[in-house]
Symmetry: C2
Subunit: 428 residues, 2 copies
């Protein structure tokens, strides 16, 4: 039996307390699985006196996460403070410098500084692991890095922000407008302090950038993720999509193209009968496509105390068992600095616009689309009471560039009120 | 850069050729991911002259798999011959004795001899891995053993025989009887030489026994799996189930109960809207429930050249990277010899029977059920042309023991033609 693996936990929010509970409640199980005990040496959080649902009085307390990271009785820093910089980054760097391994759930820090931190870890022979940073309890990092390592990955997709999926499915099931459900989600505590992290797609884009790196062996390039939030999706869009057999999801897609790496996190239409289309509520899903394996779909809770702590512990247990891998599956120094490609693969598009109700308006729209080389598959004009007519168009397969040209041309017709809502219909 | 990892491949059927293709086509990718090359030293199969879709002339040929296993230039035996005993077991034992690691896709061998082989591997400091033996391309062994290692697993379920799921979903979509679809599947080459391995549930039960062992830390106990095939499922059962919002699946369930380990592979009704209910065709699915993570669902191809070879390569790559784990996640010598429990958790049951159309027949059925303490939730008698009336009953939650008593009592009524079809409605 080897010596115990000793953790220092920085951050005692929901996830931190979840980790403490697993270590306390499953001591025997963990020791059987790892061949050694897993112990907590010391902890650190902003507020020592806060009432917590686990007994933390038995652990040494540190006020400073950097001091925690450097303690002689800490083998692994478990970084659960969050934030791209500040104490999280300082503690992570201090731990790596002091020759400790690091397990983190911090997607923002890795999306912004993953390359530099992974290089620092590998230079010192340490590991930096982040299963909990992506899709909560779903072991998607392990699946991509190890389970599918015999594949050239071709495409990675994911619904990875539970709050957005909750809002979109709740709008549909309750027939409520975006603003109402947004308020509900806020009152339920589902939203980040800055809600743009959720509904603007930033949080999900952090996760996508990390998955793209491990799938394609490229340096994390969060800045290149094409980003669009869900705040322009109306209940009408959801109903129209449902009429046509689709559901709207905030979908991340990363794929390697001849032009470079395409990464986007945008609302898309997916078939209602597909696994992505059937995803309800705050659940997350990752769809991984490889040249040998075909399509693997993983589904589970994307957040919450238990699921996220489960993912943190998977990394801790790997370290306890001596299973050590580079942060992004291959050495950070070898990751390719790949060109970012604008997403432009031809797909059908969904367009919703409001027309001034005047003779010839629809003809002007059709002409503008035709001159942009966007071909109409289906068009519907809905009944209306006022001088504005809602019009819905599904195009044949066309590129994003053509859609952009069409949107400009529609603006020049003088009959379209405001910019159309344009959503790709993703072939899944 | 370390020395190459050298494989000896025994068995060049579909999966073996898939492995050869990945090694040949992804040499650079594998070297980048492993930090060392993966090479094939020698191969072995029954028929050297058979026409194969990969160039195998560049590898040394062995006629005897045991000789292959013992070669000095083989680090890992990749055993893809199949069969619980015979050459597969002999070669596996020879490789372990000679100090080589073994990767196998052989569910029958591990279900029958897993304990003994794992102990042999661990005694010699070798690994014996079997990702490809369960659910094809889905990395379910890795997910259970590593990704969810921080959880006490509570229940593991799976649809893990693609042929059975193909038959059941094809019966429903085409409205065809079992016998017709069975013939179709045979002509498509979907059936094993002994079809009972598929439709009798044996192949899927092998897989379930392996998953139960790694989930619950118990010795593989294939003999204890309660087994029932799909050959009594009629198109009427499928239609009745659909009417009530269910679909019929050959579902494996393993759970630890106060009475011991429950393992069953039986046709069950599952909600049509659940991920299991929505599973079409030959696709496989594993549902893993842990105390922290909640429910994780994995979906993908359960068989075929690419998917199964992908799983074999995941094990090979783990070995190349130095990621070494005991066969069942913890040392074989520590696995518990757990009592087998008969599946008896209360669930609703579906009963279909044929009544002699005579006055009072339905009353006799209801009485027999009531006296067995089986309470009826819904009952339907369908229209009919002859003297036999099809009757369908859904019970309230009741135990398997009570259902067995009820079936005996129904036999004594004199109005039921043949034994009823009885299927549990699984809460998923």
């Amino acid at each position: 039996m080897s010596a115990p693996l000793r953790l220092g936990i920085a951050g005692l929010g929901t996830v931190g307390i979840g980790v403490v509970k697993i270590v306390q409640q499953h001591a025997a199980l963990l020791e059987a699985r790892c061949g050694r005990a897993i112990e907590i040496s010391a902890i650190c959080a902003r507020d020592r006196s806060k009432n917590r649902s686990a007994d933390i009085s038995i652990y040494d307390w540190e006020d400073d996460p950097v001091a925690l990271a450097r303690r002689g009785d800490v083998d692994v820093l478990v970084e659960l403070m969050g934030g791209p910089d500040g104490p999280a980054k300082a503690a992570t760097e201090a731990a790596l410098e002091a020759g400790k391994d690091v397990v983190t759930a911090n997607k923002a820090m890795l999306a912004e500084h993953g390359q530099e931190l992974a290089e620092a870890a590998e230079a010192g022979g340490r590991v930096l692991r982040f299963e909990a940073a992506v899709a909560g309890g779903i072991p998607v990092v392990k699946t991509l890095t190890e389970g599918l390592a015999g594949n050239a990955l071709t495409r990675v997709m994911g619904v990875m922000n539970g709050t957005c999926n909750y809002i979109l499915t709740r709008m549909e099931s309750a027939g409520l407008p975006y603003e109402t459900v947004f308020e509900e989600a806020d009152q339920l505590g589902f939203l980040e302090a800055d809600p743009q992290l959720d509904v603007g797609g930033i949080d999900a884009a952090h996760k996508l950038a990390l998955l793209a790196s491990i799938a394609f062996g490229t340096r994390v390039d969060f800045a290149a993720v094409e980003l669009e939030g869900i705040d322009r999706i109306s209940i009408d869009d959801i109903r129209h999509a449902a009429d046509m057999g689709y559901r709207i999801k905030l979908l991340g897609v990363a794929q390697m193209t001849p032009h470079g790496l395409e990464q986007r996190m945008t609302p898309c239409l997916v078939p209602a009968t597909s696994p992505l289309g059937q995803l309800e509520g705050a659940t997350n899903m990752a769809v991984l496509e490889g040249d040998s394996v075909g399509r693997i779909v993983l589904r589970g809770a994307g957040a919450g105390e238990g699921p996220t702590a489960s993912a943190v512990m998977a990394d801790v247990i790997d370290i306890a068992r001596g299973l050590r891998l580079p942060t992004f599956g291959q050495p950070a120094a070898l990751l390719a600095d790949t060109r970012a490609a604008r997403a432009n693969s031809p797909t059908p598009w969904y367009l919703r616009m409001t027309l001034h109700d005047e003779p010839g308006a629809l003809a002007k729209v059709a002409t503008a689309l035709g001159e942009s080389e966007v071909s109409i598959n289906r068009m519907r004009q809905y009944g209306h009471d006022d001088t504005f007519a809602p019009v819905l168009i599904v195009t044949h397969k066309t590129t994003r560039s053509a859609i952009d040209r069409a949107i400009t041309a529609l603006g020049h017709t003088g009959v379209v009120a405001g910019p159309p809502v344009a959503l790709a219909i993703e072939p899944v």
